[in-house]
């Protein structure tokens, strides 16, 4: 395959060009309520061509090999058009042309496991989640994605890497009369099929929560002091802060670029944030990005001060900052864009007990239910929560959505616990989906959070 890629690239009239060919094998199994509702096993493939010419940089994704000539022609025209209309020619930061192959050695490779076994395991967890008369329905599915990536560039880079991701996840819905509640459940990761085994406890736990939600009170809208659990603090880190450490989101936004200059004091002194996809076994792990650059751990915030940023080769050159291998595509249908890999708040000094003592009265809210950011403002939902009185967890509350301003909220993080946990499944949707987007955090205490209520 690499020779085929090189042959196509050899015909590119370009200052720089690269070509990625991928196969993507997906297995999906879905249960809705008691029924097996969907099974698919599919192979897809395609190419992504990038051309730099005269300071214009353009991408073209195509699926038919026969379209290679048309792709070369169109990408070149687009690059020239960008160059002609651009005040500032695109440059790519210098990088070593890597020649390597990385095929992860999985403890249990899902490609070696039969479809029957995958269906049975999903069926078992679905049955556990359904085993109560107040559970109205479930939507629980198995997902397996195997990307086999081949990358070549006119600089001589040749990279081959596989990304294997599995998960069993979905929604459990309870109903009592007209009241309907739901909660998400998810297990998975990138280390192999074994991480899906013996996870009954997680499905039992989420079933209990969704049943308890039927008796919970709606949280009152207004301003509250809150403790966020690992999952929610991770979503905050990803949504509110993380996206603005992606250089492509701020490069043409002078306001944000000014605010996000290296050295800016953005958060409380106790706050440290890192993006580190280099740890094998984590969901977000990879070795090379889709520009063929080795991924590096990037300290982003140290003692509340911005100290790093995530880059592609293009933005690294524009900002004059180091390349760090964070330019990643969903698959062969997309140009690579700057993505977080595994972003997290590093553990602090408080114990969980001292964190609750510091909160005294407020809310303890848990587990993410989606989030979104727009400029300085972010919104995300929590699956459930509890009132906290005198440092003790009391009644359950529901209908929790938070909003806030990034900078104010980072200053309002006043205590960080010494625990730590990363997510097992991802799905960041910055124009394209990154199923390995991983985040995490310790429990954190945040003052004065706006909650929407119901």
């Amino acid at each position: 395959m690499i020779e085929k890629l090189k042959a196509i690239l050899a015909r590119a009239d370009a200052d720089y060009a690269d070509l990625r060919y991928e196969t993507k094998r997906e297995t999906k199994i879905s249960f809705n309520g008691p029924d097996l509702s969907h099974v698919t096993v599919s192979n897809t493939d395609g190419y992504v061509l990038r051309i730099l010419k005269g300071g214009g940089f353009s991408t073209l994704a195509f699926t038919r090999e026969a379209d290679a000539e048309k792709a070369l022609r169109t990408a070149l025209e687009n690059a020239r058009l960008i160059a002609k209309n651009s005040r500032q020619p695109v440059r790519l930061a210098a990088a070593e042309a890597v020649r390597d192959e990385f095929l992860p050695k999985l403890e249990e490779d899902p490609r070696q496991i039969g479809l029957d076994e995958k269906i049975e395991l999903t069926k078992k967890y679905n049955a556990l989640a359904r085993s109560n008369p107040l559970i109205a329905t479930t939507s629980i599915g198995y997902s397996e994605t195997v990307r086999e990536k081949h990358f070549a560039s006119t600089e001589g880079a040749v990279v081959r890497e596989d990304l294997v991701t599995v998960g069993i996840s979905g929604l459990i819905t309870s109903r009592d009369g007209n009241l309907i509640q739901n909660a998400r459940v998810a297990v998975g990761g990138s280390a192999g099929f074994q991480i899906l085994r013996s996870r009954e406890e997680e499905f039992e736990k989420k079933k209990k929560i969704v049943l308890d939600l039927l008796k919970a009170q709606s949280v009152p809208g207004g301003v509250h002091n809150v403790i966020l659990n690992n999952s929610l603090a991770g979503v905050f880190t990803h949504e509110a802060f993380g996206h603005f450490s992606e250089a492509d989101l701020i490069e043409d936004n002078p306001t944000m670029r000014q605010k996000m200059h290296l050295g800016a004091k953005l958060g409380n002194d106790i706050l440290n944030i890192v993006d580190d996809p280099t740890k094998y076994g984590q969901l977000g792990f990879y070795k090379y990005d889709d520009e063929g650059i080795p991924v590096a751990a990037v300290p982003l915030l140290r003692n509340g001060v911005l100290c790093g940023r995530l880059h592609s080769r293009r933005t690294a050159a524009e900002f004059g900052e180091p390349v760090n291998g964070h330019c990643v595509a969903e698959d062969f249908g997309y140009a690579p864009i700057i993505r977080m890999g595994t972003i997290f708040i590093t553990p602090g000094k408080d114990t969980i007990e001292s964190l609750f003592a510091k909160l005294d009265d407020g809310l303890y809210i848990l587990d993410a239910k989606g989030g979104q950011t727009s400029g300085e403002n972010f919104t995300f939902g929590a699956q459930y929560g509890y009132r906290v009185k005198n440092g003790k967890v009391t009644d359950m509350v529901r209908d929790i959505n938070l909003t806030g301003n990034l900078y104010k909220t980072m200053q309002n993080i006043t205590a960080i616990a010494d625990d730590f946990r990363l997510t097992e499944t991802g799905g960041c949707g910055k124009g394209q989906t990154n199923i390995r987007s991983c985040h995490g955090a310790p429990h954190i205490l945040v003052q004065n959070v706006v909650i929407g209520g119901k």
């Binding site: 699926t63 109903r175 979104q372 403002n377």
Partner: protein
């Protein structure tokens, strides 16, 4: 595709192939800079097989290896889900004018020139940063099955969207124009966007409480998403819909009429058949506040013993690649009927309230139940009919089955947006949480 179906028939299976070819060019400008031009040429094929009341599903991009595709299909058929239907035989359907050949002559140079023109025009009216994108899209789809259905369609669309950023980053007032081919953006659009944006450079700090909220069409998907979920045949079957037993009942304000009309070829993306080959028709969901219909694909019509409504679409709630998505009930051509008030008059009718120009976190919360608790992105605070400034860190919350009873008035014009073709709608008594 005919050979593929013949191979399937040799295995004594019913078969359906869905082929989609797409060409897309998208031009992006940020802050006056031509940031990117991306193109894609994509082909793909989905295959469904039915045999012994089981159904299998697979897809590919590699249209040359039929045997592998069929092998995958047969694996999923053996272990697959129960089938509640047979592939239908659909004969000739009305010819729709969904394709404008003029789009073939529209170059990326012209898309870039239009973005530059719009940028210049808007920059003369506001100090806000202007971000723009424009795309052209051509698609061809074919549904073929062993029952004798052979349907093809070709369509085109052009879209340009302008966003005027407010202080604080990427939240901004935005509006797009959409057609089957190029449409020149008008001064009316530029003036509208600038007049809304300029007062929002001030910050307003309303107190938490119940007030009027004017949802612009661009914000309404936060509500229509929940309505689509609640009226889907899938939700009704799964006992997730809070209105499953309310057909024929008045559940909303009588000013509200909602329908799906895939046959309206004045609009782009019109189609005479859904992605399973079922004929499309105009389907009223809510008529003057009365719940009229649920919508079905073949599977959930089969499960519910209802008639399919032509809504078996290969779309996910947040997009997705149609080739990889099995048909499911989806309202892809939703309309909310216009009212009789100008946007200006709706703003003037607000004694105290908020204009929601967009929403954040619409995917969060208890969607099947109709609950919403969403951030405003942006929100503009209005007192006595005058915009006082933008509101930061504000959320609106409630349940659509309460909110849609509280309609004050509806705008007289509709706009094509992400969630459907909608007017602005003014609601009363909406819970707004702010920092004050």
């Amino acid at each position: 595709m005919e050979k593929l179906l013949a191979l399937a028939q040799a295995q004594e299976a019913q078969a359906e192939s869905y082929q989609l070819d797409t060409d897309l060019d998208i031009v992006t400008f940020e802050n006056g800079r031509l940031k990117d031009i991306s193109s894609s040429l994509q082909s793909g094929l989905s295959l469904r097989l039915i045999k012994d009341r089981k159904i299998g599903f697979t897809y590919t991009r590699n249209l040359t290896d039929r045997e592998e595709l069929l092998r995958n299909g047969l694996v999923t058929l053996r272990l697959g889900a129960e089938a509640y239907f047979d592939f239908p035989k659909t004969g000739s359907l009305p010819e729709l004018n969904s394709y404008d050949p003029a789009i073939e002559n529209l170059t990326n140079t012209e898309l870039a020139a239009e973005c530059q023109r719009v940028h210049r025009a808007l920059s003369g009216l506001t100090k806000a940063q202007v971000n723009l994108y424009a795309y052209k899209y051509v698609y061809r789809q074919q549904v073929l099955n062993t029952s004798g259905t052979d349907l093809q369609t070709k369509g085109s669309s052009y879209h340009m969207q302008a966003t005027l950023l407010l202080p604080g980053g990427s939240s901004g007032i935005h509006r797009g124009i959409t057609g089957k081919s190029f449409l020149s953006a008008s001064d009316e659009l530029f003036n509208f966007l600038a007049e809304l944006t300029n007062p929002a450079f001030r910050e307003a700090q309303p107190k938490t409480g119940n007030m009027k909220v004017l949802f612009m069409p661009e914000a309404l998907y936060g509500l229509t998403w929940r309505l689509k979920a609640g009226t889907s045949g899938k939700s009704v079957y799964q006992k997730e819909s809070p209105v499953a037993d309310k057909l024929g009942q008045k559940i909303f304000d009588e000013k509200l009429t909602v329908y799906d009309d895939p046959l309206n070829d004045q609009m782009p993306m019109a189609v005479a058949f859904d992605s399973e080959g079922t004929p499309c028709r105009k389907l009223t969901i809510v008529d003057r506040g009365v719940l009229k219909n649920f919508y079905y694909d073949l599977e959930y019509a089969g499960r519910m013993k209802a008639q399919p409504t032509g809504h078996g679409n290969r779309s996910g709630v947040s997009g997705g690649d149609p080739i990889t998505i099995k048909p499911n009930p989806a309202l892809d051509n939703l309309y909310i009927a216009p009212g009789s008030h100008s946007f200006e008059n709706l703003v003037k009718a607000m004694d105290r309230g908020i204009i929601a120009g967009g929403v954040l976190g619409a995917h969060s919360g208890n969607i099947p139940n109709g609950d919403f608790s969403i951030g405003l992105s942006p929100g503009l605070y209005v007192e006595n009919g005058v915009i006082q400034g933008r509101v930061s860190e504000a959320m609106i919350a409630g349940n659509i089955y309460d909110l849609l009873k509280e309609i004050v008035a509806i705008e007289d014009t509709v706009y094509i947006t992400y969630g459907g073709t909608c007017p602005s709608i003014l609601f009363d008594n909406v819970r707004v949480a702010t920092r004050n």
